[in-house]
Amino acid sequence: MDKITYRIKRFDGTREWFQEYTFPYEKNKTVLWGLIKIRDEQDPTLNFTSACRSAICGSCGVRVNGNAALACKTSLDELLEIYQTSTLTIEPLSNYRVIRDLVVDWEPKLERMKEVKPWLIASEEKDLSLGFIQSEEEFHKISNPTDCILCGCCVSECTQHSTNSQGFYEPFIFTKSYRFTIDSRDNAPSQHLTPSLEKGGLWKCVRCMQCVTKCPKGVRPADHISGLRKESMGLGHQQNKGARHAYAFYDDIRKTGRLNEMTLPLKTEGLTKTLSRRIPLALRLLRKGKLNPLHFPRPVQGIEGVRKIYRLVQKEERS
Protein backbone atom coordinates (compact mmCIF):
# COMPACT_ATOMS: atom_id res chain seq x y z
CA MET A 1 0.00 0.00 0.00
CA ASP A 2 1.44 3.36 -1.03
CA LYS A 3 -1.19 5.80 0.18
CA ILE A 4 -3.70 6.16 2.99
CA THR A 5 -6.80 8.32 2.83
CA TYR A 6 -8.53 9.83 5.85
CA ARG A 7 -12.12 10.84 5.15
CA ILE A 8 -12.67 13.33 7.96
CA LYS A 9 -15.97 14.77 9.14
CA ARG A 10 -15.55 18.55 9.32
CA PHE A 11 -17.70 21.10 11.14
CA ASP A 12 -17.07 24.83 11.15
CA GLY A 13 -19.77 25.82 13.61
CA THR A 14 -22.58 25.88 11.08
CA ARG A 15 -21.77 23.55 8.20
CA GLU A 16 -20.85 19.83 8.16
CA TRP A 17 -19.02 18.03 5.38
CA PHE A 18 -16.61 15.17 4.72
CA GLN A 19 -13.15 16.05 3.45
CA GLU A 20 -10.59 13.59 2.10
CA TYR A 21 -6.85 13.77 2.78
CA THR A 22 -4.40 11.36 1.17
CA PHE A 23 -0.81 10.90 2.35
CA PRO A 24 1.99 8.33 1.93
CA TYR A 25 1.68 5.14 3.97
CA GLU A 26 4.30 4.49 6.65
CA LYS A 27 4.64 1.35 8.76
CA ASN A 28 4.01 1.25 12.53
CA LYS A 29 2.13 4.52 12.83
CA THR A 30 -0.95 5.52 14.79
CA VAL A 31 -4.22 7.20 13.82
CA LEU A 32 -2.99 10.32 15.61
CA TRP A 33 0.20 10.38 13.51
CA GLY A 34 -1.99 10.71 10.42
CA LEU A 35 -4.06 13.52 11.91
CA ILE A 36 -0.95 15.48 12.92
CA LYS A 37 0.58 14.91 9.49
CA ILE A 38 -2.52 16.28 7.78
CA ARG A 39 -2.60 19.36 10.02
CA ASP A 40 1.15 19.97 9.62
CA GLU A 41 1.44 19.34 5.90
CA GLN A 42 -1.97 19.79 4.26
CA ASP A 43 -4.58 21.68 6.26
CA PRO A 44 -3.80 23.83 9.31
CA THR A 45 -7.55 24.47 9.79
CA LEU A 46 -8.21 20.86 10.85
CA ASN A 47 -9.20 20.82 14.53
CA PHE A 48 -8.59 17.95 16.91
CA THR A 49 -7.31 17.61 20.48
CA SER A 50 -4.26 15.66 21.60
CA ALA A 51 -1.43 16.07 24.06
CA CYS A 52 0.56 13.22 25.61
CA ARG A 53 0.68 10.74 22.68
CA SER A 54 1.00 8.02 25.32
CA ALA A 55 -2.60 7.05 26.18
CA ILE A 56 -2.39 8.92 29.46
CA CYS A 57 -4.14 12.26 28.95
CA GLY A 58 -7.26 10.90 27.23
CA SER A 59 -7.69 13.87 24.91
CA CYS A 60 -7.55 12.28 21.44
CA GLY A 61 -10.66 10.10 21.36
CA VAL A 62 -12.19 9.96 17.86
CA ARG A 63 -14.43 7.61 15.91
CA VAL A 64 -12.80 5.49 13.22
CA ASN A 65 -15.18 3.69 10.84
CA GLY A 66 -17.93 4.09 13.41
CA ASN A 67 -15.97 2.88 16.43
CA ALA A 68 -14.48 5.01 19.19
CA ALA A 69 -10.71 4.79 19.60
CA LEU A 70 -7.95 6.71 21.30
CA ALA A 71 -6.06 8.02 18.27
CA CYS A 72 -2.60 7.91 19.87
CA LYS A 73 -2.95 4.28 20.94
CA THR A 74 -4.60 2.90 17.83
CA SER A 75 -2.37 1.24 15.27
CA LEU A 76 -3.03 2.23 11.68
CA ASP A 77 -1.71 -1.09 10.43
CA GLU A 78 -4.18 -2.99 12.60
CA LEU A 79 -7.12 -0.93 11.39
CA LEU A 80 -6.13 -1.27 7.74
CA GLU A 81 -5.93 -5.03 8.25
CA ILE A 82 -9.25 -5.26 10.12
CA TYR A 83 -11.16 -3.24 7.56
CA GLN A 84 -9.16 -4.41 4.50
CA THR A 85 -9.01 -0.90 3.15
CA SER A 86 -6.73 2.07 2.59
CA THR A 87 -9.45 4.60 3.45
CA LEU A 88 -10.59 5.30 7.01
CA THR A 89 -13.53 7.50 8.00
CA ILE A 90 -12.70 9.68 11.02
CA GLU A 91 -15.47 11.42 12.95
CA PRO A 92 -15.82 13.08 16.34
CA LEU A 93 -16.93 10.85 19.23
CA SER A 94 -20.65 10.24 19.12
CA ASN A 95 -23.01 11.37 21.90
CA TYR A 96 -21.10 14.64 22.42
CA ARG A 97 -21.86 18.13 21.17
CA VAL A 98 -19.30 18.90 18.49
CA ILE A 99 -17.46 22.22 18.79
CA ARG A 100 -15.30 22.07 15.64
CA ASP A 101 -14.26 19.13 13.41
CA LEU A 102 -13.12 16.38 15.81
CA VAL A 103 -13.28 18.54 18.96
CA VAL A 104 -16.15 17.76 21.33
CA ASP A 105 -17.62 19.59 24.31
CA TRP A 106 -16.75 17.97 27.64
CA GLU A 107 -18.28 20.60 29.92
CA PRO A 108 -21.83 19.14 30.19
CA LYS A 109 -20.39 15.68 30.82
CA LEU A 110 -18.08 16.89 33.59
CA GLU A 111 -20.88 18.89 35.19
CA ARG A 112 -23.02 15.77 35.19
CA MET A 113 -20.21 13.68 36.63
CA LYS A 114 -20.22 15.91 39.71
CA GLU A 115 -23.61 14.43 40.62
CA VAL A 116 -21.90 11.25 41.86
CA LYS A 117 -19.38 13.30 43.86
CA PRO A 118 -16.25 11.77 42.34
CA TRP A 119 -14.06 12.54 45.32
CA LEU A 120 -13.46 10.93 48.70
CA ILE A 121 -15.87 11.91 51.43
CA ALA A 122 -13.82 10.92 54.43
CA SER A 123 -14.84 10.63 58.03
CA GLU A 124 -12.67 13.08 59.90
CA GLU A 125 -12.93 11.21 63.17
CA LYS A 126 -12.06 7.84 61.62
CA ASP A 127 -9.28 9.19 59.48
CA LEU A 128 -7.61 11.08 62.28
CA SER A 129 -7.16 7.84 64.15
CA LEU A 130 -6.41 5.45 61.27
CA GLY A 131 -5.10 7.64 58.49
CA PHE A 132 -5.85 6.56 54.91
CA ILE A 133 -4.35 3.11 55.07
CA GLN A 134 -5.81 0.61 52.62
CA SER A 135 -5.14 -3.10 52.45
CA GLU A 136 -3.93 -4.62 49.18
CA GLU A 137 -7.31 -6.31 48.77
CA GLU A 138 -9.16 -3.04 49.31
CA PHE A 139 -6.94 -1.31 46.79
CA HIS A 140 -7.53 -4.00 44.15
CA LYS A 141 -11.28 -3.34 44.35
CA ILE A 142 -10.76 0.22 43.10
CA SER A 143 -7.79 -0.48 40.86
CA ASN A 144 -9.69 -1.03 37.61
CA PRO A 145 -12.08 1.94 37.87
CA THR A 146 -9.18 4.17 38.91
CA ASP A 147 -7.52 3.50 35.54
CA CYS A 148 -10.15 5.63 33.76
CA ILE A 149 -8.48 8.55 31.94
CA LEU A 150 -11.76 10.25 30.93
CA CYS A 151 -11.16 9.89 27.20
CA GLY A 152 -14.91 9.38 26.61
CA CYS A 153 -14.57 6.44 24.22
CA CYS A 154 -17.01 4.40 26.37
CA VAL A 155 -19.88 6.83 25.64
CA SER A 156 -19.63 6.95 21.88
CA GLU A 157 -21.35 3.65 21.03
CA CYS A 158 -23.16 3.08 24.35
CA THR A 159 -26.53 1.67 23.24
CA GLN A 160 -28.68 2.98 26.08
CA HIS A 161 -27.02 6.41 26.16
CA SER A 162 -27.44 6.75 22.38
CA THR A 163 -31.18 6.21 22.83
CA ASN A 164 -31.74 8.02 26.10
CA SER A 165 -28.91 10.46 26.82
CA GLN A 166 -30.83 12.37 29.49
CA GLY A 167 -31.99 9.29 31.37
CA PHE A 168 -28.78 7.30 31.33
CA TYR A 169 -25.36 8.27 32.61
CA GLU A 170 -22.26 8.10 30.48
CA PRO A 171 -20.49 4.79 31.35
CA PHE A 172 -17.48 6.62 32.81
CA ILE A 173 -19.81 8.32 35.33
CA PHE A 174 -20.93 4.89 36.54
CA THR A 175 -17.27 3.96 36.81
CA LYS A 176 -16.57 7.03 38.99
CA SER A 177 -19.70 6.36 41.03
CA TYR A 178 -18.57 2.78 41.67
CA ARG A 179 -14.97 3.69 42.38
CA PHE A 180 -15.94 6.02 45.26
CA THR A 181 -18.88 3.92 46.48
CA ILE A 182 -16.60 0.98 47.25
CA ASP A 183 -13.47 2.86 48.34
CA SER A 184 -12.72 1.63 51.85
CA ARG A 185 -11.57 5.12 52.85
CA ASP A 186 -14.90 6.71 51.95
CA ASN A 187 -17.51 7.33 54.57
CA ALA A 188 -20.57 8.19 52.46
CA PRO A 189 -21.10 5.48 49.81
CA SER A 190 -24.76 6.30 49.25
CA GLN A 191 -23.85 9.84 48.15
CA HIS A 192 -21.87 8.37 45.24
CA LEU A 193 -24.33 5.59 44.50
CA THR A 194 -27.82 7.07 44.86
CA PRO A 195 -27.47 9.48 41.90
CA SER A 196 -26.59 6.52 39.64
CA LEU A 197 -29.74 4.77 40.78
CA GLU A 198 -32.11 7.72 40.78
CA LYS A 199 -30.80 9.92 37.96
CA GLY A 200 -28.41 7.71 36.01
CA GLY A 201 -30.73 4.86 35.03
CA LEU A 202 -28.57 2.21 36.70
CA TRP A 203 -30.90 -0.65 35.72
CA LYS A 204 -31.37 0.55 32.14
CA CYS A 205 -27.98 -0.69 30.87
CA VAL A 206 -28.66 -3.18 28.04
CA ARG A 207 -25.32 -4.96 28.59
CA CYS A 208 -24.16 -4.41 25.00
CA MET A 209 -20.55 -4.35 26.24
CA GLN A 210 -19.59 -1.49 23.93
CA CYS A 211 -18.06 0.42 26.87
CA VAL A 212 -15.80 -2.46 27.87
CA THR A 213 -14.86 -3.07 24.24
CA LYS A 214 -14.01 0.54 23.41
CA CYS A 215 -12.10 1.49 26.57
CA PRO A 216 -8.42 1.86 25.58
CA LYS A 217 -7.29 1.32 29.18
CA GLY A 218 -9.04 -1.96 29.98
CA VAL A 219 -11.54 -0.29 32.30
CA ARG A 220 -14.81 -2.24 32.54
CA PRO A 221 -17.75 0.13 33.11
CA ALA A 222 -20.32 -2.65 32.52
CA ASP A 223 -18.78 -4.57 35.43
CA HIS A 224 -18.92 -1.42 37.55
CA ILE A 225 -22.62 -1.07 36.70
CA SER A 226 -23.08 -4.64 37.99
CA GLY A 227 -21.12 -3.72 41.11
CA LEU A 228 -23.27 -0.64 41.71
CA ARG A 229 -26.43 -2.73 41.31
CA LYS A 230 -25.15 -5.15 43.92
CA GLU A 231 -24.23 -2.29 46.28
CA SER A 232 -27.62 -0.64 45.74
CA MET A 233 -29.43 -3.84 46.69
CA GLY A 234 -27.16 -4.12 49.72
CA LEU A 235 -28.35 -0.66 50.74
CA GLY A 236 -31.95 -1.83 50.51
CA HIS A 237 -32.95 -0.67 47.00
CA GLN A 238 -34.63 -3.94 46.01
CA GLN A 239 -38.10 -2.80 45.05
CA ASN A 240 -37.44 -1.76 41.48
CA LYS A 241 -37.94 -3.66 38.23
CA GLY A 242 -34.25 -4.29 37.67
CA ALA A 243 -33.63 -5.77 41.10
CA ARG A 244 -36.81 -7.82 41.04
CA HIS A 245 -35.87 -9.13 37.56
CA ALA A 246 -32.44 -10.20 38.78
CA TYR A 247 -33.96 -11.91 41.82
CA ALA A 248 -36.41 -13.79 39.58
CA PHE A 249 -33.40 -15.53 37.96
CA TYR A 250 -31.63 -15.97 41.30
CA ASP A 251 -34.68 -17.57 42.95
CA ASP A 252 -35.65 -19.75 39.97
CA ILE A 253 -32.19 -21.27 39.71
CA ARG A 254 -32.24 -22.14 43.41
CA LYS A 255 -35.72 -23.63 43.05
CA THR A 256 -35.37 -25.70 39.87
CA GLY A 257 -32.05 -24.80 38.27
CA ARG A 258 -33.72 -23.03 35.36
CA LEU A 259 -35.68 -19.91 34.53
CA ASN A 260 -39.46 -19.99 34.54
CA GLU A 261 -40.39 -17.68 31.66
CA MET A 262 -44.07 -17.75 32.63
CA THR A 263 -43.56 -16.19 36.03
CA LEU A 264 -40.73 -13.82 35.03
CA PRO A 265 -42.99 -10.84 34.11
CA LEU A 266 -45.08 -11.34 37.26
CA LYS A 267 -42.02 -11.36 39.47
CA THR A 268 -40.49 -8.37 37.69
CA GLU A 269 -43.49 -6.12 37.24
CA GLY A 270 -46.12 -7.44 39.63
CA LEU A 271 -49.57 -8.82 38.84
CA THR A 272 -51.32 -5.52 38.06
CA LYS A 273 -48.83 -4.27 35.50
CA THR A 274 -48.46 -7.69 33.91
CA LEU A 275 -52.23 -7.97 33.47
CA SER A 276 -52.63 -4.41 32.20
CA ARG A 277 -49.58 -4.26 29.89
CA ARG A 278 -48.59 -7.75 28.83
CA ILE A 279 -51.85 -9.29 27.67
CA PRO A 280 -51.39 -8.50 23.93
CA LEU A 281 -47.86 -9.93 24.01
CA ALA A 282 -48.98 -12.99 25.97
CA LEU A 283 -51.80 -13.66 23.51
CA ARG A 284 -49.40 -13.35 20.57
CA LEU A 285 -47.08 -15.86 22.16
CA LEU A 286 -49.85 -18.26 23.15
CA ARG A 287 -51.24 -18.24 19.61
CA LYS A 288 -47.86 -19.29 18.21
CA GLY A 289 -47.18 -21.83 20.94
CA LYS A 290 -44.24 -19.82 22.25
CA LEU A 291 -45.77 -19.61 25.69
CA ASN A 292 -46.99 -22.71 27.45
CA PRO A 293 -48.90 -21.88 30.63
CA LEU A 294 -48.69 -25.52 31.67
CA HIS A 295 -44.89 -25.65 31.46
CA PHE A 296 -43.29 -25.42 34.86
CA PRO A 297 -39.63 -26.41 34.88
CA ARG A 298 -39.03 -29.46 37.04
CA PRO A 299 -35.97 -29.46 39.28
CA VAL A 300 -32.88 -30.49 37.33
CA GLN A 301 -30.88 -33.57 38.12
CA GLY A 302 -28.56 -32.64 40.96
CA ILE A 303 -30.68 -29.72 42.23
CA GLU A 304 -29.67 -30.50 45.82
CA GLY A 305 -26.06 -29.90 44.81
CA VAL A 306 -27.07 -26.58 43.22
CA ARG A 307 -28.83 -25.49 46.41
CA LYS A 308 -25.80 -26.52 48.40
CA ILE A 309 -23.69 -24.22 46.20
CA TYR A 310 -26.01 -21.35 47.17
CA ARG A 311 -25.54 -22.15 50.87
CA LEU A 312 -21.77 -22.55 50.59
CA VAL A 313 -21.34 -19.32 48.64
CA GLN A 314 -23.33 -17.44 51.27
CA LYS A 315 -21.22 -19.00 54.00
CA GLU A 316 -18.02 -18.09 52.15
CA GLU A 317 -19.18 -14.50 51.76
CA ARG A 318 -20.14 -14.19 55.41
CA SER A 319 -16.68 -15.33 56.41
Binding site: N65, I82, Y83, T159, Q160, T163, N164, G167, W203, K204, V206, R207, C208, M209, Q210, V212, T213, R220, A222, S226, R229, K230, M233, N240, K241, G242, H245, F249, Y250, D252, I253, G257, R258, L259, E261, P265, T268, E269, L281, R284, L285, K288, G289, K290, L291, N292, H295, P297, V300, Q301, G302, I303, G305, V306, K308, I309, Y310, L312, V313, E316
Partner: protein
Protein backbone atom coordinates in the same frame (compact mmCIF):
# COMPACT_ATOMS: atom_id res chain seq x y z
CA UNK B 1 -17.71 -34.56 16.03
CA UNK B 2 -19.23 -34.69 19.47
CA UNK B 3 -20.14 -31.90 21.86
CA UNK B 4 -21.66 -31.50 25.31
CA UNK B 5 -24.75 -29.48 24.47
CA UNK B 6 -25.85 -26.62 26.72
CA UNK B 7 -29.26 -25.49 25.34
CA UNK B 8 -29.98 -22.63 27.77
CA UNK B 9 -33.37 -21.78 29.26
CA UNK B 10 -34.80 -19.99 26.23
CA UNK B 11 -34.62 -23.11 24.07
CA UNK B 12 -36.77 -24.94 26.62
CA UNK B 13 -39.40 -22.21 26.51
CA UNK B 14 -40.21 -19.46 24.05
CA UNK B 15 -37.59 -20.49 21.50
CA UNK B 16 -38.30 -24.21 21.34
CA UNK B 17 -38.00 -23.96 17.54
CA UNK B 18 -34.33 -23.09 18.04
CA UNK B 19 -33.87 -26.33 20.00
CA UNK B 20 -35.55 -28.55 17.42
CA UNK B 21 -33.84 -26.86 14.47
CA UNK B 22 -30.44 -27.13 16.18
CA UNK B 23 -30.99 -30.83 16.83
CA UNK B 24 -32.19 -31.41 13.26
CA UNK B 25 -29.26 -29.68 11.59
CA UNK B 26 -26.77 -31.36 13.92
CA UNK B 27 -28.21 -34.72 12.88
CA UNK B 28 -28.09 -33.78 9.20
CA UNK B 29 -24.48 -32.61 9.49
CA UNK B 30 -23.33 -35.57 11.55
CA UNK B 31 -22.54 -33.54 14.66
CA UNK B 32 -23.41 -35.43 17.84
CA UNK B 33 -24.91 -33.28 20.58
CA UNK B 34 -25.08 -34.82 24.06
CA UNK B 35 -27.29 -32.63 26.23
CA UNK B 36 -25.69 -31.99 29.60
CA UNK B 37 -27.72 -33.66 32.32
CA UNK B 38 -28.52 -31.26 35.10
CA UNK B 39 -27.38 -28.02 33.44
CA UNK B 40 -28.66 -24.85 35.08
CA UNK B 41 -29.38 -21.33 33.84
CA UNK B 42 -26.17 -19.40 33.08
CA UNK B 43 -27.45 -16.43 35.08
CA UNK B 44 -28.31 -14.56 31.88
CA UNK B 45 -26.18 -11.55 32.88
CA UNK B 46 -28.47 -10.91 35.88
CA UNK B 47 -27.35 -13.23 38.68
CA UNK B 48 -23.92 -11.59 38.91
CA UNK B 49 -25.69 -8.34 39.83
CA UNK B 50 -26.78 -10.06 43.05
CA UNK B 51 -23.86 -12.37 43.71
CA UNK B 52 -20.88 -12.68 41.37
CA UNK B 53 -19.32 -15.59 43.27
CA UNK B 54 -22.57 -17.52 42.96
CA UNK B 55 -22.83 -16.81 39.21
CA UNK B 56 -19.23 -17.96 38.82
CA UNK B 57 -19.78 -21.14 40.86
CA UNK B 58 -22.95 -22.11 38.99
CA UNK B 59 -21.21 -21.78 35.64
CA UNK B 60 -18.14 -23.62 36.95
CA UNK B 61 -20.55 -26.44 37.74
CA UNK B 62 -22.04 -26.27 34.23
CA UNK B 63 -18.60 -26.53 32.66
CA UNK B 64 -17.63 -29.28 35.11
CA UNK B 65 -20.57 -31.31 33.79
CA UNK B 66 -19.03 -31.13 30.31
CA UNK B 67 -15.60 -31.98 31.70
CA UNK B 68 -17.04 -35.17 33.22
CA UNK B 69 -18.00 -36.20 29.67
CA UNK B 70 -14.56 -35.21 28.34
CA UNK B 71 -16.28 -33.08 25.73
CA UNK B 72 -16.12 -29.45 24.65
CA UNK B 73 -19.23 -27.50 25.64
CA UNK B 74 -21.38 -26.16 22.78
CA UNK B 75 -24.03 -23.46 23.15
CA UNK B 76 -26.36 -21.78 20.69
CA UNK B 77 -27.04 -18.65 22.75
CA UNK B 78 -24.74 -15.64 22.73
CA UNK B 79 -25.38 -14.73 26.37
CA UNK B 80 -24.92 -18.29 27.61
CA UNK B 81 -21.64 -18.36 25.67
CA UNK B 82 -20.47 -15.12 27.27
CA UNK B 83 -21.49 -16.12 30.80
CA UNK B 84 -19.79 -19.52 30.52
CA UNK B 85 -16.65 -18.16 28.84
CA UNK B 86 -16.44 -15.34 31.34
CA UNK B 87 -16.54 -17.87 34.19
CA UNK B 88 -13.94 -20.02 32.44
CA UNK B 89 -11.62 -17.08 31.91
CA UNK B 90 -11.82 -15.98 35.54
CA UNK B 91 -11.22 -19.50 36.81
CA UNK B 92 -8.38 -20.28 34.39
CA UNK B 93 -6.58 -16.97 34.96
CA UNK B 94 -6.96 -16.72 38.74
CA UNK B 95 -5.72 -19.83 40.60
CA UNK B 96 -6.92 -18.54 44.00
CA UNK B 97 -10.43 -18.06 42.63
CA UNK B 98 -10.36 -21.51 41.04
CA UNK B 99 -9.35 -23.02 44.41
CA UNK B 100 -12.10 -21.12 46.20
CA UNK B 101 -14.76 -22.22 43.70
CA UNK B 102 -13.51 -25.81 43.72
CA UNK B 103 -13.79 -25.87 47.50
CA UNK B 104 -17.45 -24.92 47.08
CA UNK B 105 -18.07 -27.31 44.15
CA UNK B 106 -16.19 -30.15 45.83
CA UNK B 107 -18.72 -30.27 48.64
CA UNK B 108 -21.51 -30.85 46.15
CA UNK B 109 -19.67 -33.44 44.08
CA UNK B 110 -18.10 -31.44 41.25
CA UNK B 111 -14.63 -30.29 40.25
CA UNK B 112 -13.70 -27.67 37.70
CA UNK B 113 -10.40 -28.39 35.97
CA UNK B 114 -10.51 -26.13 32.90
CA UNK B 115 -10.26 -28.96 30.37
CA UNK B 116 -13.44 -28.25 28.35
CA UNK B 117 -13.56 -25.48 25.78
CA UNK B 118 -16.74 -23.36 25.64
CA UNK B 119 -17.82 -22.70 22.08
CA UNK B 120 -20.79 -21.64 19.97
CA UNK B 121 -22.47 -23.38 17.04
CA UNK B 122 -21.45 -20.58 14.64
CA UNK B 123 -17.79 -20.93 15.60
CA UNK B 124 -17.88 -24.73 15.38
CA UNK B 125 -19.29 -24.57 11.86
CA UNK B 126 -16.64 -22.10 10.75
CA UNK B 127 -13.62 -23.46 12.57
CA UNK B 128 -14.20 -27.16 13.22
CA UNK B 129 -16.75 -28.37 10.69
CA UNK B 130 -15.65 -26.11 7.87
CA UNK B 131 -17.71 -24.26 5.29
CA UNK B 132 -16.51 -26.51 2.48
CA UNK B 133 -17.93 -29.53 4.30
CA UNK B 134 -21.13 -27.64 5.00
CA UNK B 135 -21.49 -26.74 1.32
CA UNK B 136 -21.35 -30.43 0.42
CA UNK B 137 -24.49 -31.04 2.51
CA UNK B 138 -26.56 -28.30 0.95
CA UNK B 139 -29.64 -29.58 -0.86
CA UNK B 140 -31.52 -26.34 -1.31
CA UNK B 141 -29.19 -23.37 -1.92
CA UNK B 142 -30.82 -20.18 -0.67
CA UNK B 143 -30.33 -18.46 -4.01
CA UNK B 144 -32.06 -15.13 -4.29
CA UNK B 145 -32.63 -14.73 -0.55
CA UNK B 146 -31.28 -11.44 0.80
CA UNK B 147 -30.20 -11.79 4.42
CA UNK B 148 -29.29 -9.22 7.06
CA UNK B 149 -26.80 -10.97 9.34
CA UNK B 150 -27.31 -9.68 12.89
CA UNK B 151 -24.57 -10.91 15.23
CA UNK B 152 -25.90 -9.84 18.63
CA UNK B 153 -23.54 -8.36 21.21
CA UNK B 154 -22.41 -11.31 23.26
CA UNK B 155 -20.90 -13.37 20.48
CA UNK B 156 -18.47 -10.49 19.87
CA UNK B 157 -18.11 -8.40 22.99
CA UNK B 158 -16.16 -8.13 25.18
CA UNK B 159 -13.45 -9.30 22.75
CA UNK B 160 -11.02 -10.32 25.50
CA UNK B 161 -13.52 -13.00 26.55
CA UNK B 162 -15.11 -13.92 23.22
CA UNK B 163 -12.23 -13.40 20.80
CA UNK B 164 -13.21 -15.73 17.96
CA UNK B 165 -12.80 -12.89 15.46
CA UNK B 166 -12.23 -9.16 15.47
CA UNK B 167 -15.27 -7.53 17.07
CA UNK B 168 -15.06 -4.35 14.96
CA UNK B 169 -15.48 -6.06 11.60
CA UNK B 170 -16.46 -9.72 12.04
CA UNK B 171 -17.15 -11.84 8.96
CA UNK B 172 -18.11 -15.31 10.24
CA UNK B 173 -21.86 -14.93 9.93
CA UNK B 174 -21.66 -13.38 6.46
CA UNK B 175 -19.35 -16.18 5.30
CA UNK B 176 -21.78 -18.79 6.59
CA UNK B 177 -24.78 -17.09 4.98
CA UNK B 178 -22.87 -16.90 1.71
CA UNK B 179 -21.97 -20.59 1.95
CA UNK B 180 -25.69 -21.37 2.18
CA UNK B 181 -26.18 -19.65 -1.16
CA UNK B 182 -27.91 -16.54 0.17
CA UNK B 183 -26.90 -12.94 -0.45
CA UNK B 184 -25.73 -10.74 2.43
CA UNK B 185 -27.02 -7.20 2.53
CA UNK B 186 -24.94 -4.46 4.11
CA UNK B 187 -26.90 -2.69 6.85
CA UNK B 188 -25.87 -0.17 9.47
CA UNK B 189 -27.03 -2.06 12.57
CA UNK B 190 -25.38 -5.42 11.92
CA UNK B 191 -23.21 -5.19 15.05
CA UNK B 192 -25.72 -3.36 17.23
CA UNK B 193 -27.62 -4.46 20.30
CA UNK B 194 -31.22 -5.77 20.29
CA UNK B 195 -31.85 -4.39 23.80
CA UNK B 196 -33.13 -7.68 25.22
CA UNK B 197 -31.44 -7.52 28.60
CA UNK B 198 -33.20 -4.32 29.64
CA UNK B 199 -36.61 -4.92 28.09
CA UNK B 200 -38.32 -4.72 31.50
CA UNK B 201 -36.54 -1.78 33.20
CA UNK B 202 -36.14 0.26 30.00
CA UNK B 203 -39.05 -0.87 27.87
CA UNK B 204 -39.58 2.24 25.73
CA UNK B 205 -35.90 2.69 24.93
CA UNK B 206 -35.51 -0.97 24.12
CA UNK B 207 -38.51 -1.00 21.80
CA UNK B 208 -36.90 1.87 19.93
CA UNK B 209 -33.56 0.03 19.71
CA UNK B 210 -35.34 -3.09 18.43
CA UNK B 211 -37.26 -1.10 15.85
CA UNK B 212 -34.16 0.67 14.57
CA UNK B 213 -32.45 -2.69 14.06
CA UNK B 214 -35.38 -4.08 12.08
CA UNK B 215 -35.77 -0.90 10.07
CA UNK B 216 -32.09 -0.86 9.18
CA UNK B 217 -32.29 -4.42 7.83
CA UNK B 218 -35.53 -3.80 5.99
CA UNK B 219 -34.41 -0.56 4.37
CA UNK B 220 -31.22 -2.28 3.17
CA UNK B 221 -33.45 -4.59 1.14
CA UNK B 222 -33.18 -7.75 3.27
CA UNK B 223 -35.91 -10.37 3.04
CA UNK B 224 -35.08 -11.52 6.56
CA UNK B 225 -32.69 -11.12 9.44
CA UNK B 226 -30.71 -14.04 10.83
CA UNK B 227 -29.05 -14.22 14.21
CA UNK B 228 -26.96 -16.78 16.11
CA UNK B 229 -28.64 -15.73 19.39
CA UNK B 230 -32.13 -16.88 20.48
CA UNK B 231 -32.43 -13.87 22.79
CA UNK B 232 -31.89 -11.45 19.89
CA UNK B 233 -34.34 -13.49 17.83
CA UNK B 234 -36.96 -13.27 20.57
CA UNK B 235 -36.47 -9.55 21.02
CA UNK B 236 -36.51 -8.71 17.32
CA UNK B 237 -39.42 -11.02 16.49
CA UNK B 238 -41.69 -11.12 19.56
CA UNK B 239 -41.50 -7.42 20.29
CA UNK B 240 -41.64 -6.20 16.68
CA UNK B 241 -45.38 -5.38 16.86
CA UNK B 242 -44.73 -3.32 20.03
CA UNK B 243 -41.76 -1.56 18.42
CA UNK B 244 -43.89 -0.74 15.40
CA UNK B 245 -46.01 1.57 17.56
CA UNK B 246 -42.99 3.88 17.93
CA UNK B 247 -42.35 4.13 14.17
CA UNK B 248 -44.17 5.59 11.18
CA UNK B 249 -42.14 3.47 8.79
CA UNK B 250 -43.08 -0.19 8.39
CA UNK B 251 -40.64 -2.38 10.31
CA UNK B 252 -41.94 -5.80 9.37
CA UNK B 253 -39.18 -8.30 8.72
CA UNK B 254 -38.96 -12.02 9.61
CA UNK B 255 -36.13 -12.92 11.99
CA UNK B 256 -34.68 -16.43 11.71
CA UNK B 257 -32.51 -18.41 14.07
CA UNK B 258 -29.20 -19.33 12.48
CA UNK B 259 -30.11 -23.01 12.81
CA UNK B 260 -33.33 -22.43 10.85
CA UNK B 261 -31.54 -20.74 7.95
CA UNK B 262 -29.01 -23.59 7.83
CA UNK B 263 -31.85 -26.11 8.05
CA UNK B 264 -33.61 -24.60 5.07
CA UNK B 265 -30.42 -24.90 3.01
CA UNK B 266 -30.00 -28.50 4.17
CA UNK B 267 -33.43 -29.24 2.72
CA UNK B 268 -35.31 -29.63 6.02
CA UNK B 269 -38.98 -28.74 6.04
CA UNK B 270 -40.26 -25.44 7.44
CA UNK B 271 -42.39 -27.46 9.88
CA UNK B 272 -39.37 -29.35 11.21
CA UNK B 273 -37.61 -26.04 11.70
CA UNK B 274 -40.54 -24.47 13.56
CA UNK B 275 -40.94 -21.58 11.14
CA UNK B 276 -44.63 -21.41 11.99
CA UNK B 277 -43.83 -20.44 15.58
CA UNK B 278 -42.64 -16.96 14.70
CA UNK B 279 -44.59 -13.81 15.50
CA UNK B 280 -43.61 -12.19 12.21
CA UNK B 281 -44.77 -14.31 9.28
CA UNK B 282 -41.90 -16.23 7.69
CA UNK B 283 -43.76 -17.05 4.46
CA UNK B 284 -42.05 -14.27 2.48
CA UNK B 285 -38.74 -16.05 3.18
CA UNK B 286 -40.10 -19.42 2.19
CA UNK B 287 -41.58 -18.02 -1.02
CA UNK B 288 -38.12 -16.90 -2.08
CA UNK B 289 -36.50 -20.29 -1.64
CA UNK B 290 -39.27 -22.88 -2.13
CA UNK B 291 -39.92 -21.89 -5.72
Amino acid sequence: MKYAFFPGCTLEGAAKEALTSTQKIAEALGIELVELEGWTCCGASHVQDIDDLLALSLNARNIALAEKLNLPLLTVCNTCTLMLRSAKQQLDQTPELKDKVNTILGQSGYTYSGSSEVTHLLWVLLKNYGLDNLKKKIKRPLTGLKVASFYGCHILRPPDIMGFENSLNPQSLEKLVEALGAENVAFEKRLDCCGFHAVFPAEQEVLKITGLDCLSAREAGAHCMVTPCPLCQMQLDMYQPDSQKQFKETLTIPVLHLSQLIGLALGLSPQDLGLGRHIVDTHPVLEKILK
